[in-house]
Every structure is written in C-alpha cells, then in structure tokens.
C-alpha cells in the first residue's frame, strides 16, 4: 500500500490517455470548440429555413399549419418533460405558463406595434422589423412565464406527488380566472395615447372574449428555430451535471442530497427553464394565424394534453416525447373525418399504451439508444491497483 496514491492524488490525477474519443478535440482551438458548440443551432436554423420555404409549396397551407402546431406542441412537451420526466415533479399546469407567456408576448407586440407604427399591421417581410419585434415579445413572454415558474417551483420544495400536481393545476386555473378579469383591448393608437396609464389597469388584453387583433407573425421558420434551441438546450441539460442532478432528484431525493445535490435548486431550476420555453411557445401560439388567445387556453384541458405527451413519450426521453407530441397533434387532424369517434380512438390508444408499454414509447431511452452504440472508450489509466490487494470480483460471482 505504500505506493498507493492518496485520495487527493486520485482526484486530481489526469490520466495520460488523451481521453475518450468524444473528447479528443478538447485541446484544439477556441474557434473549433465554439463552432462545435454552435453547430446544432446552425443545422436547426438551416432546416427551419428549408421547411419555411419549401413545405407550404409542397403540401399546402393546411398541412403546413399542422406542422406548425406540431412544432409548438413539441416545444411544450419537451419543456414539460424537464419538470415531469427528468426532475420527477408532477406538474399539470404547463398550459398556464404557456398562456401567461402568450398573453405577455401578444401584449408586447400588439401595443408595441401601435406605439412604433401606429397600427397593428404586419411590418416587414421575412426577418423584417416586425418579426424581430415578435421575437422580442416572445422572449418577454418567456421571461414572465419563467418568473411564474419560479413562484410555482417554490412549493415543490415541500410538496410531493399529488399535492404538487394540485398546486400546479390551481396555478393554471388562477391564470385563467385572472385573465378573464382583464380589460377591453384598445383598438386604435389614438385611444392608446389619449387614455393615459390608468387604462393599463387591469391590462387591456380582452377579458373573457379573448385577445383578438394580435399581428400574425408566427411562421414555420421561427417555430422550428425556437424548437431547435429548445431541443439543444434540453439535450445538453440532460447530459450535463444539471441533468444528472435533476434525474437524481427524480430517482431518490434523500440519496441525491447525500451526494451533495442541492435539490431545492434543481427543482426550482427545472420549473424556471420549463416555464420559460412554455412562455415562448405561448408567444408563438398567440401570433399564429387563426388563433384568438383566450383565457380558456390556460385551463387544465390543454395542460393535460401535454402531460399525456410526456407520459406517452417516456419520462426524460427527449426524442420519445417529440414522437408522442408529433403523433398526438397530428392524429386528431387526420381523424377529423371520423369526428364523432375521434375521442374514442384517442382514449383507446392511451389505454392500449398504458397496458402494453406503461413506461412510454421509449422509456428512459433516446431513439438512438435503440441501435447498438459506440461506447465511450475507457481511459486506459495506468492501473492504479492492478494486481494488488484490492478484493477481486472473480470470487464474487
């Protein structure tokens, strides 16, 4: 034992091996690293552009609209999966965050347009000024939702399981009721100027009638660009120390704490990130053609749709949840001819899934786990304890 390094040495020792294949570029230049970090975003944006310019011509506006809906549903389901799937907190108020963010975004772009241009027409074409106002509005909506996520995340430190679910359910309903109490939409720039600040209380976002007249900026490009950002962030989060921390909270809170995980921080962080993306998705939804934002959107019906997507996809599986969100958004559209049987088919599908594959489509795996994958090679460390006195497992069977 005399030569055995002590713990400090073990923890700081860098093995001389260059490390596993996936990290072989770690000593290469800053530029290359940065490019590698940004590459997924670039690919996603390129694909979003392709979709945006080619899809409507290929399949027509109706199906393009369904694809847009699928994109928004995936953003919602993947973000909810950070809370429900990865961190294991059962939230059924995700539509509350979405609607809150949507209203905030619509408020910003609607009244922002009025202040800037005196009307609420669409300004500029693809990537024009109007679209940038729309993006900023979505981010503002996301930030407000993230703030709400922080507030809703706090009770999760004390509540578990069903009780937390009730709190999040209550949150959605509170948002719905508050939005019903809001004031009438101000319809002209003159009225906005003359009315003064008092007309902002309560916020003029339409009350129970819904928020009409919001400029319709949402298009395939922006939906899939934001979807890309959501997916990359969700995936990187999952494969990082944060993701491991969140999953450890899901698996066993007591053990997680004993391993040095600050579970309060992990839970609140999960809620804040998920709510942020839900808020942005709400902004996309609010600016979609044919949508009039209404307080009903915050209700539990819509929240439940997203919960079902995460359950069907598999807890914590990003690709599984994407599949489920795509399927469950597209399916009702294609079952429209059997309108009266639609809900029955939907319900039967759920029951079937719960019986045959209760862990969801992909369980805890990602879709590429289904193929035999290249394993991270072990760093061939100078065998620290090679033939020495540590117990051999051979005898242990």
């Amino acid at each position: 034992m005399a030569k055995a390094p002590n713990s400090a040495q073990i923890w700081t020792s860098k093995t001389n091996a260059a490390g596993s294949a996936s990290f072989s570029d770690r000593d290469s230049g800053f530029v290359r690293n940065t490019l590698a970090g940004l590459m997924p975003f670039a690919v996603g944006i390129a694909m979003a552009s392709l979709l945006h310019f080619l899809l409507p011509g290929m399949v027509g506006l109706y199906y393009s609209r369904i694809v847009t809906d699928i994109g928004i549903a995936i953003i919602m389901a993947v973000s909810l999966n950070i809370v429900n799937g990865m961190t294991g907190q059962f939230s059924i108020g995700h539509a509350g965050f979405m609607t809150l963010g949507g209203y905030m975004a619509a408020f910003t772009s609607y009244y922002g347009s009025m202040c800037l241009w005196g009307n609420t027409e669409i300004h500029g074409g693809f990537l024009g000024t109007g679209e940038w106002l729309f993006v900023v509005s979505c981010i503002v909506g996301g930030l407000l939702a993230a703030g709400a996520g922080y507030v809703v995340g706090l009770p999760s430190l004390r509540l578990r399981g069903d009780y937390l679910a009730i709190v999040t359910l209550g949150f959605g309903e509170i948002i719905r009721v508050i939005l019903q109490q809001t004031g009438k939409v101000i319809e002209s720039a003159e009225a906005l100027k003359t009315g003064g600040l008092s007309q902002m209380i309560p916020p003029p976002v339409g009350g129970a009638l819904g928020f009409g007249g919001v400029p319709k900026y949402t298009n395939l490009f922006w939906v899939f660009t934001i979807l890309t950002v959501t997916l990359v962030i969700a995936y990187r989060l999952k494969r990082s120390s944060f993701g491991r921390g969140m999953i450890s909270v899901r698996e066993d809170e007591i053990a997680a704490q004993a391993m040095g995980v600050n579970i309060a921080r992990q839970k609140v962080l999960a809620f804040v990130i998920a709510a942020f993306f839900a808020g942005i998705a709400g902004g996309l939804f609010a600016h979609e053609r044919g949508v009039i934002l209404s307080p009903k959107d915050a209700g539990f019906q819509r929240s439940f749709d997203y919960v079902i997507m995460t359950v069907l996809g598999g807890r914590g599986s990003i690709t599984g949840v994407m599949l489920a969100a795509g399927l469950l958004t597209a399916l009702p559209e294609f079952l429209r001819e059997f309108e009266q049987y639609r809900l029955i088919v939907y319900a039967l599908l759920l029951i079937f899934m719960m019986l045959v594959r209760p862990q969801g489509l992909l369980g805890i795996h990602e879709i590429w786990d289904l193929w035999p994958r290249r394993r991270t090679t072990l760093p061939p460390t100078a065998s620290l304890m090679h033939s020495s006195t540590m117990p051999s497992q051979e005898s242990k069977r």
Partner: protein, 281 residues
C-alpha cells in the same frame, strides 16, 4: 445512564496521534417523547476506523442522520476539522466532507453506473448553467476530468466494465459496492457506512472487511461503521461504541467491548442489570 457509561467513555478513548477529525460533543435528539439518541459523543481521528453497534432501534442510523444533516440535533455540537457543522443542509454537509452509504441501498436505479459516480463527483466540478448550455471549452474540460475521476474509482473497485449499465442491473453485492464508490466520489474526509455487509454472503463479507481497511488507508478517510456482523466489526474496528436505546453503554477496543457485561445484557436481553433496561421500554 449515569456514572458507569461516562467513566468508560473517559477511559475508553485512546490517546489520538493524528488529531481529532470529527468531534461529536454530546449530541441528542428526541422524537416526541422518545429520546432516540442521548448525550452521544465521539472523537474520530483522521483515518480512524470506528464501529458503532447496538441492537435494532438503538439509534445508530439516527446518529448517521444527525451527522449528515437529515436531522438537526436538539443538543450538542458537531465539529468537522474544527469547523462547526450547524444548521446545514445535507448537501452542504456532503460538500464539507462527510459522505454516507445507506442501510437499504439507495442508488439511482435508472442512471448508469458511471453516472451514479459522476453525480457524486460533480460536487467538486460545478459548472455554470451558461457554459453547460453553450458547451464551452471549460465545460468540456471539467466533464472530461469528472469522467476520468469516475473511471479511476470504478477501476479501483473493478466495476469499470459495468460503467454503462444501469445501476439497477447490478447484482446485490455490486450495488452495495457501488454505494461505497459513490460515497467516495464525493471526496469525503469522513465516510459513514451503514450496514455495508447486510445481505452479503460470508465470502463477500470477508472481501468487504479488506476493502474497508484499504479504503481507509488509500483514501485517507476516517470510517465510522454501523454493522450487525460482529466478527466483521471486531476484526477491523480499532474502537467500538455500543448503543442501546439511544444511550452509549460502552466504548473501547473490540476486546473490551466483547467482555463488557452491559453489552452482553443489551444483546441477550438479560435481566442482570436492571437499571440498564431503559425507562423507554
């Protein structure tokens, strides 16, 4: 619990050469009317290997829970390397240098073996959220280091071939071992082992006994061991503390403890010493 216990306490603690690492000064806790632990003291030297034994319900695991911040003691103080641990969350105590294993295995079943270890190790490789999401160079370097550390540990315990399997797929003996590896990955100064031999066969117990001693030597950690397996405890521990109904009834070397009347009474339930059968009963 008056004079006899306290006299043994003062004589039983041997002179310590390397200084006291974990200093527990008469801590106690009650749950309602039940005094789960009373007036428990222990001076654990750096790289010491002490045992904590006692019949079921004696308060051994409660002491671990007090040490790791799961419960806050009603009275008394705990010092780790002369820093007082007071009103700290469990994860802060782990960061300060006390790690534990659990009596009933508490691995993260749906994480891989490697991730179980990395999760524990990441305590000392904390990453910012932004650098994580952008995968900056610093982030990659830290993750790489963390992975190497985890593999080093797994290799020492010969679990590296299982690194990518789910923790739940390991055999029982390996799961017990992984719990120890995971606790060591937090880079502790004090390692609390809660019945590591439970459920192991005699062969595995023998190997475990060697392992514990080697862990102590190699990682320079102080070990406090709860165990029901008497031969194991008597073989490896330098010092043993015996609890019964929350009270320290005896402490000393294995030989002293084995021959102590109160210990025999506590284990065999003899009526010889009436005042020892606790009022809580």
């Amino acid at each position: 619990m008056n004079t006899p216990a306290s006299t043994t306490a003062s004589t039983g603690t041997p002179p310590i050469d390397s200084g006291v690492l974990l200093d527990i000064n008469s801590i106690g806790i009650s749950f309602g009317g039940l005094k789960a632990v009373q007036d428990f003291s222990l001076q654990l030297p750096a790289a010491g290997l002490f045992g904590l034994i006692g019949p079921n319900g004696a308060g051994k695991t409660t002491i671990f829970n007090l040490l790791t911040g799961v419960y806050e003691p009603d009275s008394g103080e705990i010092h780790l390397a002369s820093r007082r641990l007071f009103n700290r969350q469990p994860h802060e105590i782990t960061a300060a240098g006390i790690a534990r294993t659990f009596q009933n295995i508490r691995l993260f079943p749906d994480l891989s073996v490697l991730d179980n270890v990395r999760l524990a190790g990441q305590l000392h490789n904390q990453q910012g959220l932004l650098s994580t999401l952008l995968r900056t160079r610093g982030y990659r370097r830290e993750e790489q280091l963390l992975q190497e550390k985890a593999f080093n540990l797994l290799e020492i315990f010969e679990l590296q071939d299982r690194a990518h399997e789910l923790a739940s797929s390991l055999s029982y003996g390996h799961q017990r071992k992984l719990e120890i590896v995971r606790a060591l990955a937090t880079n502790p100064q004090v390692l609390l082992l809660d019945e590591p031999a439970a459920g192991l066969n005699p062969q595995e117990k023998k190997l475990l006994a060697q392992s514990i001693q080697q862990i102590r030597d190699r990682f320079q950690v102080a070990v406090l061991l709860i165990e029901h397996d008497m031969p194991l405890v008597m073989e490896i521990c330098e010092n043993i503390i015996v609890l019964d109904h929350g009270n320290t009834i005896c402490r000393g070397t294995p030989r002293e403890v084995q021959n102590d009347e109160r210990v025999i009474a506590a284990y065999l339930g003899s009526g010889l010493t009436d005042e020892e059968s606790s009022p809580a009963a």
